[in-house]
Symmetry: C2
Subunit: 214 residues, 2 copies
């Protein structure tokens, strides 16, 4: 695998990205030729073929402008948008439904579109709509959208969605292990942390974002 692109291939890739931001369609071979000051269309074809082999783009044969950026080629492009399913509500006292199946942005759920960069690279992100004022110590209001990455393994200091077995409550807090106990620290620094036995806490996911529209 030649992970390195030639100067010309980089130029071509950047030109395609720029072109697609300006227009809403990919350039032709001859557009690229002119834009990158290449003397022959066959050179463009040759390098496009290389870029395709290295999985930066996909070409549809015999199709004009049949170029689709994929994988690495999308990096930095505005097309780098993902659809995040809104899988339900989150509220104190309600069990938190976390998707077990591979979180495909399927039908059946509402969705939000966001730039992939805003999820911090997390995979399988899903969203929940906050109901009620119970998350206010996490600086989350009624109607907010919480982005969660499903995981049970979290590090100290992560903001997590945790289910408290005894209290039968879902809560959003920063998570710290302290021996057999877990300290849950509200995001609002004026409020006090709570300490509970580790056995009383099950982490459902890591919070990667909070969104509020008014």
């Amino acid at each position: 695998m030649p992970p390195k692109l030639s100067r010309r291939q980089q130029d071509i890739l950047e030109f395609i990205q720029a072109f697609m931001e300006e227009h809403q369609f990919p350039p032709t071979v001859r557009d690229i030729q002119a834009g990158c000051e290449i003397s022959s269309t066959s050179v463009v074809d040759y390098n496009l073929h290389k870029l395709q082999q290295n999985n930066f783009l996909k070409r549809l044969p015999e199709v004009s402008r049949g170029i689709e950026l994929i994988g690495e080629g999308l990096r930095g492009s505005k097309r780098d948008i993902i659809s995040i399913p809104i899988m339900g509500n989150i509220a104190a006292g309600e069990p938190l439904h976390v998707p077990d199946a591979p979180t495909t942005a399927d039908e059946g759920y509402d969705e939000v579109d966001l730039p992939a960069s805003m999820t911090g690279g997390a995979q399988n992100v899903f969203a929940l709509r906050v109901k009620g004022e119970s998350m206010i110590d996490a600086l989350v209001a009624d109607g907010d959208l919480v982005l969660l990455e499903p995981t049970t393994e979290v590090s100290n200091g992560d903001m997590v969605a945790a289910w408290l077995n005894d209290e039968e409550e879902t809560t959003l807090k920063r998570f710290y292990i302290e021996g057999d106990m877990v300290r849950l620290q509200p995001a609002n620094s004026t409020m006090q942390p709570i300490r509970v036995p580790a056995s009383n806490v099950s982490v459902r996911g890591r919070v990667v974002g909070v969104f509020r529209t008014l």
Copy 2:
């Protein structure tokens, strides 16, 4: 002005949107012909021309797949992404810099890309990065991104960014006029509102969104 689209024009528009989500480029006249079961390319051309007149799309003559969705035509499409400039910081005690010039998403500023739907249709939206904990009664934390629509005319109940002349502070609160006084109500319902003379308040913009990534 838009006298309403014919059935066929709606079909074509929807087909183009669907096609552009599947591929990364617009369909050809003949793609549309096949996709909408139209008998002649001239019919497609005719209706495309109409759609262009009604400002749903733009066509580039002599260019294959030279279709760009604009305005209404973008509605519901994933392309409906806008770049919002991050124009600086917002913190208590700091004067709030509101763009006076036409807020073009120019160079010189960092940007966030968001679906246009998330700004609630507001125009000229810009963003500010929150510094410090002083906005905590608006459920806004250090590092959050606040989306603002520049305006001085707000309705009762709007969340606004207000500058308090005497206190020399910027604050985010819900805004209510009460005679000569203005009541500024924190978003956090556990906290008390403040009342100040209307002359002490200058509204700098309406808050349309709050975003936090962790």
